[in-house]
């Protein structure tokens, strides 16, 4: 299938559903109520042939769930969430009945620390060998005790080539310069914004102090008049519609926009950036843990992940699947940025002390 056609059918997993927060809750209530009632047949592993999957919107292959049912007989019910916060809020009062969830890296850490995740039995996930070793031993989940990587992303600057004087390869363009006044968009996520400002100031994203937050807050207030919008992860739409020309966004989202519009490009600033990764986990209290392991193993299969990647077009940590993809994906410098740029990027660790400080400081920035 043509790469361009594929992309056109795809929308960012975080865009529309995010705004439809209320509806998303409705969807999942309905889904669970429908799936918990019926009895159904029992599998060889002693579990009923069911699995409840809680996933982001537009974040699975077109036929993956049907194919899984064909292969194993397990009926997957998929409900959708629109942000890690919604996911966490939902599990705060206990697992509402899900078997597999897809939290981002910092929430894997947060949920494992809060005792919400089940340790994975790696002997049931042999397809782990398909994963790039760089994604196996990660700080947020050492030796992948609780999670398997599903996709990963890097933050950077998406821009319209005809509207910039030079490649905006420094955070300065977004954070500390009036050059593109009124054409800049930031993310509305407080933690990401403060950490990236930290990167601009030459600090690790995980080494910020309350004093740094105060400094950064002043810098943000100074730059705010030049910023047009704090966007909810729909920066690629702002670029496409011509509302903004330099936006802070994830590489995967910009890669989608680049296919629709050749005038758009993406760069990871030279100061380095922040990485994100979405992970497959089994929450505690999952009704079908064995099916959940089988499902995770199935997703890590090279051909299955290739099909998923064809649909969602995010960077995959699955080396075997990547090798099956067309050259336009495999060697796309936006989807797979050069190693020297990635070397300066870090995962944000979960930090319960700083999170409320970020939020309050950002509320002050918005009110200033």
């Amino acid at each position: 299938m043509d790469f361009n056609e594929l992309i056109k059918q795809t929308r960012g997993r975080r865009s529309l559903l995010q705004a439809l927060g209320v509806a998303a809750v409705g969807i999942s209530f309905g889904g669970l109520a429908a799936c918990s009632k019926q009895g159904g047949k029992t599998l060889a592993n002693g579990e009923e042939a069911k699995l409840n999957f809680y996933n982001w919107d537009t974040y699975i292959g077109e036929n993956t769930l049907d194919n899984f049912k064909e292969a194993t007989g397990v009926d997957v019910t998929m409900d959708l969430f629109d942000s890690n916060d919604v996911l966490f809020a939902k599990f705060k009062a206990g697992n509402p009945g899900y078997d597999v969830i897809v939290p981002s890296n910092d929430f894997v850490e947060r949920m494992s620390k809060a005792g919400m995740l089940l340790p994975l039995d790696h002997s049931l996930i042999p397809n782990k060998r398909n994963i790039d070793p760089a994604y196996i031993n990660v700080e947020y989940d050492l030796q992948r005790k609780f999670s398997m990587p599903y996709t990963w992303l890097a933050l950077g600057i998406g821009y319209r080539k005809s509207k910039v004087s030079a490649t905006p390869d420094s955070w300065k363009v977004l954070f500390d310069s009036p050059e593109y006044a009124g054409r800049i968009a930031w993310l509305s996520e407080a933690g990401d914004m403060f950490r990236l400002f930290g990167k601009y100031l030459g600090k690790s994203v995980n080494a910020l102090t309350p004093a740094d937050i105060a400094t950064i807050e002043k810098m943000m207030i100074k730059q705010k008049p030049n910023v047009k919008k704090f966007h909810e992860d729909d920066g690629q739409d702002l670029l496409l519609k011509g509302d903004c020309d330099v936006v802070l966004e994830y590489n995967g989202d910009i890669a989608q926009a680049m296919v629709e519009d050749k005038d758009i490009d993406f760069v990871i600033p030279k100061e380095g950036s922040q990485l994100n990764s979405d992970n497959l986990c089994i929450p505690k209290g999952a009704p079908h843990p064995k099916n959940a392991h089988a499902f995770i193993n199935y997703i890590l299969d090279a051909n299955v992940d290739k099909h998923i990647t064809e649909t969602i077009l995010y960077p995959t940590p699955n080396t075997a699947a990547r090798k099956l993809m067309p050259d336009s994906y495999q060697n796309n410098p936006v989807i797979f940025p050069p190693a020297e740029a990635l070397a300066k990027c870090e995962y944000a660790r979960f930090n319960p002390e700083l999170q409320p400080l970020y939020e309050e400081a950002f509320t002050r920035v918005r009110a200033a």
Binding site: A19, L20, S83, D85, V86, F88, A89, K92, R110, K113, A114, M116, G182, E189, A190, G191, K224, V227, K228, K229, F230, E232, K241, G242, D243, P352, Q355, P356, E359, E360, T363, R364, R366, A367, A368
Partner: protein
């Protein structure tokens, strides 16, 4: 009057109202009470909230930062209500005095937007107002036309068209909120104006008052209950608006509901979010109390 006093028929009244009452208690009062309790709590670890009776959440919620956001939200909501009233009153008058044949169609026109989800309507507005949106394209075409006509008559052409900034600022938020809330204003106004005794208007006109004076001295005072109802029904949801400022606002367009939302999600500080919510609810209670007190005064005479 033929109306029956409910006290004469307590059992029937109880039978009819019990399901509704049960519904309200179970799905409104109980959850609200839980949130109210949260507002006196503290986060313990990542998932636990301990109701410790602390007032620190309210103390933080009444800090200057949050008071200014409350103040700004109130100002925006009041402005939206005022614009809705100014726009909605003539519309309600027009519907009232329209012919029997037209009235249902006009009312349908007012209610038509409700058939579409608020989010879809907001996105439609964003497409209209964007830099490359229809409004800017239309203005740009007019500008080019004027420039062309000027060159025709031998004048200097106008400078090149620069798109007007219509989206992602406070103007867009007010515009969006007025658009969303206008039907809430028009419908109660129409209900009040429709009940109005037309002979009073005729008498006023016969006795020499002009149209404007008749409206100011006769129609508006008689429609006052409708105006007050319309103002309350517009002001309260506008005060709690969060989708419109989120999507259409700029960097300084946050309203209190956006701050509350972030406490429950990103900040994971439910007790503080609960305290902010309840400050808003207390403010609305105060508004409704003031309104009902005002209504009682004329009845006493």
């Amino acid at each position: 009057m033929a109306e029956q006093d409910w006290k004469a028929n307590r059992r029937a009244f109880a039978a009819v109202s019990l399901p509704t009452l049960f519904w309200i208690v179970l799905f409104f009062l109980v959850p609200m009470a839980i949130v109210w309790l949260y507002s006196f709590g503290e986060n313990r670890g990542l998932t636990e909230i301990e109701i410790s009776g602390t007032l620190s959440n309210y103390k933080r919620a009444t800090e200057w930062l949050y008071l200014t956001i409350f103040g700004k939200s109130f100002a925006v909501a009041a402005l939206v209500t005022l614009i809705c009233l100014i726009l909605g009153f003539p519309v309600a008058m027009a519907i009232t005095f329209a012919s029997e044949k037209w009235r249902p169609w006009l009312l349908l026109g007012i209610m038509l937007p409700f058939w579409t989800n608020l989010l879809i309507r907001t996105y439609a507005l964003m497409m209209l107002l964007g830099t490359q949106g229809f409004a800017n394209k239309g203005l740009g075409a007019l500008w080019e036309g004027t420039s062309w006509i000027k060159t025709l008559v031998g004048l200097q052409p106008l400078p090149t068209w620069e798109p007007v900034q219509l989206l992602f600022n406070n103007f867009a938020v007010v515009f969006g909120l007025v658009y969303v809330h206008l039907p809430f204003m028009v419908l109660p106004l129409y209900a009040a104006l429709d009940r109005l005794d037309r002979s009073l208007i005729e008498a006023s006109l016969d006795l020499g008052a002009g149209h404007f004076r008749t409206i100011m001295r006769i129609v508006i005072p008689l429609a006052a209950p409708g105006i007050i109802a319309g103002v309350m029904i517009t002001l309260i949801p506008a005060l709690g608006a969060y989708l419109t400022p989120d999507l259409m606002g700029g960097t300084d367009s946050q309203m209190i509901a956006n701050v509350i939302e972030r406490q429950f999600k990103k900040a994971n500080d439910w007790p503080f979010g609960a305290a902010l919510s309840f400050l808003l609810i207390y403010a609305m209670f105060a508004l409704i109390a003031i309104q009902s007190m005002r209504r009682k005064v004329p009845e006493a005479h």
